[in-house]
Amino acid sequence: MISAVIDRLASVETVSMAKDAGDYVVAERVRKIFNPGGRHEVEAVAPTSFTVKSGEFVSLLGPSGCGKSTLLMMVAGLDRPSEGTVAVAGRPMIAPRAENGIMFQDPTLLPWKSALENVLFPYRAMNKPVAPHIDRAKALLDEVGLAGFHNHKPRQLSGGMRQRVAICRALVFEPDLLLMDEPFSALDAITRDEMNLALMKIWEEHHRTALFVTHSIREAVYLSDRVLVMSQRPGRVIADVKIPFARPRGLEIEESAAFNEICGYLRSKIQHRPV
């Protein structure tokens, strides 16, 4: 099983052009320093490079505070790298891009709007007509098991239901890249399993390129085609591990020896802070 594991530490050479025709996200020696020159200067991300192929589900896995969320925010165009570049679909990310669907750690729903209105929010934000997409939004909500909850307000929904509304919102405008920043980390273990199943099912149906940030090894292995392990802060990608399980995946693969072997390997790669 270890043979399926490939460490790839060499950096990519070209910037604006994709290294490989299939590379959708190309991060090129990206570095992030907060408060540069200031007293509280922090290097959050050390110069690091990675790629995500079109249609691939990739996880960024690392200890908390390792800069993985910062890295994702730079891919989302919400944060500018201090050095290096991020390119998505061959274009450098200098501002948020309309074809990115994004999920945060919190559902981030408008509390005064219904579940359906929240799913339709991207159209409102982009100042596009909403009416033609209502049916699709409803179908998505039904798909994640929220039929009958279309008109409920976020406060009337449980944590897991709210995050499902957020999944629908990230998918409704058919983004080609799905960016997820520890979307399930605030949920309890059982809900989290359910959310992983829900995400897997919906991802297999819609099949977008996805970049998923997590600090859960099992979650990363269960969901991903590839797992990128990040080092302690300043974070950089220190291992690139292929996950060989066929899709569709059920939760039962988590019981397999291969699964646990990969988890063990990833765990050995994660550097823990000296106690």
């Binding site: 981030t108 929010f121 098991g145 009958g148 199943l197």
Partner: protein
Amino acid sequence: MTSPSSSLPRPGGGVGVIADGGGAPVALLEAGESRRVAPPPSRITAPPPPGRGREANAIVDRLRAAILPTAFALALLLAWQALVVIFQYPKVVLPAPSDIWHALVANFGTICQQAVPTTRDTLAGFLLATVLGVGIASLLCFSRLLRDMVYPLVILLQLVPKIAWTPLFIVWAGIGSPARLTIATFIAFFPIFISMMAGLEATDSSLVRLSRSLTATTWRTFWLVRLPASMPYLFSGLKIGVTLAVIGVIVAEFISSSEGLGYLILKSSALLQTDLILAAIVALCLLGVGFYGIVHAGERAIQRWQGE
């Protein structure tokens, strides 16, 4: 926990509570309910079977909330009346509630007539303060530079007792309605502006980030996220603002005016018509309740509009 029945009402152990307008819990949802749970809407909106007792309780609570203060007020009025009757206070010093009532009835025409300019100036001043407060706060929300320039100054200005400016406004705007309107605007502006500012700045930054990630323009984000999120703040400011606007107008009428309820109070005190002073105060009290009611109705309307 993963069974489809987990979204049914369950005693205890619920995380989210679905409540209808009346506040009665309709269904309890577990954080860990199954993703396959899709109960028909009827199951969610139907009232719980043992809801009758709850409804009865709600009615009792509402009656209690209405009866208790009313009864207490009546008791106070009765005690007041008894005090005046027993100790034979002169009417000039302390008129009995019955005297005030008589003054109110006898001078009803005058009071109504004097209430008109007071109401007009208060509402006009309040409306102007709302437009200015909301407008300036929104403007500062768009420009960091402008905000850092203007906001500290407004806070500083707000520390000065606003009433102290009244004579100055009369010098500037004359002794007519414009001066009173200016004072009402000035005094009501600060709570409205500051609460609007607080509301805009307290907007959940992750919502703003989400909006930005969806390539929304600053204006779009303002309209869709910041403005609706600031509404509860704004209305608490409006409620203070409308009360202060009345104070501003009355004080201005005290200082220089030949009309309005403030003028009537001052004139009655010169003529030692204490009962008429109190009758005018009763009228002011009713006006105040009316103004507050208008703001409250506005708040409900916004809530309903946001709720659609």
